[in-house]
C-alpha cells in the first residue's frame, strides 16, 4: 500500500509509545518544532499493556506545560490506530498538518527571527 502524507512531518520511530517521555516532547518544541503528535496502538491493545495510556498522560501533561508557557497546548496531540490502519495514519498526518498550519509556526521561532 502506498499512501501520501504531508512531507513536512518528521517521523521518529519508537518500539512503544510508552517510551515517549515528557522531556522528549518539550525538547522538540524548544528546538523549534511547530507541532508534535504521538501515534500509538488502540487503547486496550498495547503489547506492553499500559504504554499507550502512559503516553496519553504525558501528552496531556505536555499540553498543560506548553499552554502555561505560551506556546499553546493544542500543538501536541495523541492519536491511536491499529497497525493495519495505514490510511488512518495518513489521515492523522494530514489532520495534524492542517491544524498546525492554522495555528501558525512555533512562536519561539518567530521571536528568534525577530531578535536576529
Amino acid at each position: 500500500m502506498r499512501l501520501q502524507y504531508p512531507e513536512n512531518i518528521r517521523i521518529v520511530s519508537i518500539p512503544c509509545t510508552g517510551k515517549v517521555d515528557l522531556i522528549h516532547i518539550l525538547r522538540a518544541f524548544e528546538k523549534g518544532a511547530d507541532g508534535v503528535y504521538v501515534v500509538g496502538c488502540l487503547e486496550g491493545e498495547c503489547r506492553y499493556i499500559r504504554g499507550n495510556l502512559r503516553a496519553r498522560k504525558r501528552v496531556e501533561k505536555a499540553q498543560a506545560i506548553l499552554e502555561s508557557v505560551g506556546i499553546g497546548g493544542e500543538r501536541v496531540q495523541m492519536y491511536n490506530l491499529s497497525s493495519s490502519e495505514g490510511p488512518k495514519f495518513a489521515e492523522f498526518a494530514t489532520e495534524m498538518t492542517e491544524k498546525i498550519k492554522g495555528l501558525g509556526p512555533n512562536p519561539i521561532k518567530l521571536n528568534k527571527k525577530k531578535a536576529a
Binding site: 517521555d21 515528557l22 522531556i23 518539550l26 525538547r27 518544541f29 524548544e30 506545560i65 506548553l66 502555561s68 508557557v69 505560551g70 506556546i71 512562536p107 519561539i108 521571536n111 528568534k112 525577530k114 531578535a115
Partner: protein
C-alpha cells in the same frame, strides 16, 4: 520521606523573572522519589522556562544540575567552584535543602521550586499521604503502629472524638479516622487492653511548641 510538590509554573516564573543566568538544582533523594525535584523534573522545568523566556524574547541562560542531597555539606560543596556565575538558584529540594543552600551560599538568592508538604509514604505512584509529624516522642508502640498525631485531625490520644462516623473523620469524609485505624489494628494484634489504658498528657515541648529543634550526638561529633 519528605513529600513535596512542584510549585505552579506561574509562581516559579515570578520568582526567577529577573535572572539572567539561572541554575536549576535538583536533589536525588526524597523529591526524586515523589517526582517533584529530581533530575527529570529539573530537565522538564528547565525546558519549560527556556521556552517561556524565548517566547518573551528575554535572554536567560538556564543550567541544570542535580545533587545527591541538598541537606548535607559534602554534596553542597560540589558546586562551590561553579556557583558564582549564577545570579540565582532555583532549588527543587525540600525546604531543608533550600535553606541549607542559602546558608552556605549567602550572597546568591536561593529560590524554592517546590512546596514541601509533609513526611509521608507512597501509597501508589502519584499518591502520597502523611504518616508522621516529627513530634519528638513517638507513641506508636502504644497505638498499634498508627500515629494519632498525624492521622487524627484533632491529634487526640485517648480514642476518637464524637465525630468519627463509619470509620471516617468528621473534618472530611474522604479522610479515614485515625482512631478507627488504631482500634482495628489493636484488635488484630490482640492488644485492645492498650486502648483501655489512659494515655498521659503529651509533652509537646519536643514538638514545634518548644521552638526550633536540634539533635546533638556528642558521641558522633568530631
Amino acid at each position: 520521606m519528605i513529600v513535596a510538590k512542584q510549585k505552579p509554573i506561574e509562581e516559579i516564573i515570578e520568582e526567577v523573572k529577573d535572572s539572567k543566568k539561572l541554575l536549576i538544582l535538583g536533589c536525588n533523594e526524597c523529591v526524586t522519589v515523589c517526582e517533584a525535584g529530581g533530575k527529570k523534573e529539573v530537565a522538564v522545568l528547565a525546558s519549560a522556562l527556556r521556552m517561556y523566556f524565548m517566547n518573551k524574547g528575554q535572554e536567560i541562560t538556564i543550567d541544570e544540575h542535580t545533587l545527591e542531597r541538598q541537606c548535607d555539606h559534602e554534596y553542597l560543596e560540589e558546586i562551590r567552584g561553579n556557583i558564582d556565575q549564577y545570579d540565582a538558584v532555583l532549588s527543587l529540594a525540600c525546604g531543608v535543602g533550600v535553606q541549607f543552600m542559602a546558608e552556605k551560599y549567602f550572597n546568591i538568592p536561593i529560590l524554592p521550586g517546590v512546596d514541601t508538604c509533609f513526611m509521608g509514604a507512597t501509597e501508589e505512584r502519584g499518591v502520597w499521604s502523611e504518616r508522621c509529624q516529627g513530634c519528638g516522642k513517638c507513641v506508636l508502640a502504644k497505638t498499634g503502629g498508627i500515629c494519632p498525631v498525624s492521622r487524627c485531625a484533632k491529634r487526640l490520644f485517648n480514642g476518637p472524638c464524637g465525630g468519627s462516623t463509619k470509620g471516617h473523620c468528621e473534618i472530611n469524609k474522604d479522610v479515614v479516622c485515625g482512631w478507627q485505624l488504631i482500634i482495628d489494628r489493636l484488635k488484630e494484634l490482640g492488644k485492645l487492653d492498650d486502648y483501655e489504658t489512659l494515655a498521659p498528657i503529651k509533652d509537646w515541648s519536643t514538638e514545634r511548641a518548644g521552638g526550633p529543634r536540634k539533635v546533638v550526638r556528642e558521641d558522633l561529633q568530631a
